[in-house]
Amino acid sequence: MTLEVQNLHVRTEDREILHGVDLVVKKGETHALMGPNGSGKSTLANTLMGNPSYEVTEGRILLNGEDLTEADPDERARAGLFMAFQYPATIPGVSVANFLRMAMNAGREEPIKVKEFGALLGKNMELLKIDRAFTSRYLNEGFSGGEKKRAEILQLAMLQPEFAVLDETDSGLDIDALRIVAEGVNAMRGAERGFLIITHYTRILEYVKPDFVHILLDGRIVREGGSELADELEDKGYEFVREGVAASGA
């Protein structure tokens, strides 16, 4: 059971951003994709989910062997893919609770029972230290940065996808919020789920230890390794990686 990206080339408007990315995430694994600003991290996340603003010009996205490269975002979601957004959209007039119920029911034959939904929501809100009143607010309307990220992780916890992409979920979070979010993610890790954590910084990786680390630079994955690679990056910075790439003539 895998999420597989093969030779992915992606462009927006008039510029190619990803120049052939290969990546395999197996269920049960947690991968970190790291890179500086502008390296193409968010492009990869958005392309995985089928954002129509990005065009795949070459390569494929496979989920459990099924080609999703041309699939609509809702089909991908129902196939088991999830993304926590860096900048989630505001949905006026729709409460957090109603939105969650709608999203859960979208992937089901029979709508979830009110009791079951309530119990699950209560449990996950406790996990993420979310206040009751939060669920009756309109999704992301007037939310602080931290509240938005928590709402994303709450959706992740409710929807229980097979593969979750976290797009810079750590950015803009203070240390307490980061710890809560990280604990939420850790609680969901397990043999039945794969994670791709996209981040600029190494901080979240102190709480969510990745099995694999990939470094994305200028639209290409230039280095790969275990969690020690994140430590190396922490010490030496992206410039060091860039110089290494230049020296090897890649």
Binding site: P52, A89, P92, G93, V94
Partner: protein, 425 residues
């Protein structure tokens, strides 16, 4: 024979009506409201013996009311008053039975010479609605008035007069309804409401003239007196051509109003609204929000003015208007404006015309929600802010249901439009 103050006004208005041509309203930009398509001479007032209307039943449901008055065509066909403390009757009857009371307020805010159609209404009105809630009387259940056009070829000259006494409280709804028919009709309406000092009024106007060629040319004015509060909710869910002037006047210190409007246009409907939030006295407050959505080849223009006259300091008022285009062939504008003739007031306004945000649709789809449902939820969510402000559960349900039905009708064109936009971006 009606009293002199009524007959004199009819005569004077008739002169104005006969001396003026059918107007065309033009504004800067693309906007024109023309009645060229209306064959006025082919229309006539029609009288009916009794009420038998599925559409009235469908809209009113079985909610209990304090009073219900229904005018079909040219005459009132139903009037029952369950609450004996109030007066609700045809205006024709009220000008005779309660001449003094009516004369004090009748047309106080409705000059007969402000255009051909207001003059026509002043000259030709029949039937009519009169509502009087005496001082200190509090009515829980709604007072409902219905203006019904059952068949094409009808002209309805309409006049409603509402007086809510000092410290009185009431909820009033006026419905404007017609079944879907083929052919033309005209509703030329005048509405006036006076909220006496300390009164609390919850007023709704619900318009759905169906898919026939019903033209609605109306003037509605609400006067809010000292320390009175009026919540006014105009809802436009249908009408071939609508040209309306909606004014709410905070006339004395301490008066407060909250004005929440919405519209949903479809097919080739044409909606032209001009609202004024007029502050004639200092220490008055206002809050106006209008939201609309357009589908099909419809046209909608909303212009909202805040007008603060000289000698009205310490006014605090706000107006915002939003419009959402859901079809490539729909066209509209939403213009907030401001005339402030005094210092030391707080008045602000804002307006947007937009489309559904593709990022919102993408976001919802990544949660497994299909595109059509995402669009429906987003448009309903867009309206929800104003639906909540209706503060009237029966009406809220009706409006939600009708918006949902209209969106279902427009689903194909919305999908096509959103698809086009996504590819272009």
């Amino acid at each position: 024979m009606a009293p002199e103050f009524v007959e004199d006004r009819r005569r004077a208005a008739l002169e104005v009506y006969e001396s003026q041509d059918v107007p065309t309203w033009r504004r800067s930009g693309f906007w024109t409201t023309s009645l060229r398509g209306l064959d006025l001479d082919a229309l006539e007032p029609r009288r009916y013996d009794s009420l038998d209307s599925a559409i009235v039943r469908d809209h009113l449901g079985d909610e209990e009311h304090a009073a219900l008055i229904v005018q079909q065509g040219a005459n009132v066909v139903h009037c029952d008053v369950a609450d004996e403390r109030i007066i609700v009757m045809p205006l024709e009857e009220a000008v005779e039975k309660h001449a003094d009371l009516v004369e004090e307020w009748f047309a106080k805010r409705l000059p007969y010479d402000e255009g051909k159609f207001p003059a026509g209404t002043a000259a030709f009105w029949t039937g009519g609605v009169f509502v009087y809630v005496p001082d200190n009387v509090r009515i829980e259940k709604p007072i409902q008035a219905v203006w019904l056009i059952e068949e094409p070829g009808t002209v309805q000259w309409a006049h409603s007069l509402v007086v809510v006494g000092e410290n009185a409280e009431c909820k009033l709804r006026e419905y404007f309804l017609a079944p879907d028919f083929e052919g033309q009709a005209l509703h030329a309406g005048a509405f006036e409401l006076y909220a006496r000092p300390g009164a609390q009024v919850h007023l709704a106007h619900y318009q759905d003239w169906g898919s026939g060629e019903v033209h609605d040319i109306s003037v509605r004015r609400v006067e809010v007196q000292r320390d009175a509060h009026v919540k006014w909710v105009p809802i436009h869910l249908g009408g071939h051509l609508t040209k309306q002037t909606l004014d709410i006047i905070t006339a004395e210190p301490g008066s407060d109003m909250r004005h929440t409007g919405m519209y949903f246009t479809e097919r080739d409907e044409h909606l032209d609204l001009f609202t004024t939030d007029k502050h004639e006295a200092g220490h008055t407050t206002g809050d106006t929000v209008w939201k609309g959505a357009l589908t099909g080849e419809s046209r909608a223009s909303y212009e909202g003015l805040i007008h603060i006259v000289p000698k009205a300091p310490e006014v605090d008022t706000y107006l915002q208007t939003h419009q959402m285009l859901l079809s490539p062939k729909a066209k509209g504008d939403a213009i907030p404006s401001l005339i402030v003739e005094v210092d030391n007031v707080k008045a602000s306004h804002g307006g947007t015309v937009g489309e559904l945000d593709p990022e919102q649709i993408f976001y919802m789809m990544t949660r497994g929600i299909p595109r059509a449902e995402a669009v429906r939820v987003l448009v309903e969510g867009y309206f929800e802010e104003v639906v909540m402000r209706l503060d009237d559960p029966g009406l809220e349900d009706l409006v939600r249901r009708r918006i949902s039905e209209k969106l279902a009708d427009a689903e194909d064109q919305v999908r096509e439009f959103i698809g086009e936009r996504a590819e272009a971006s």
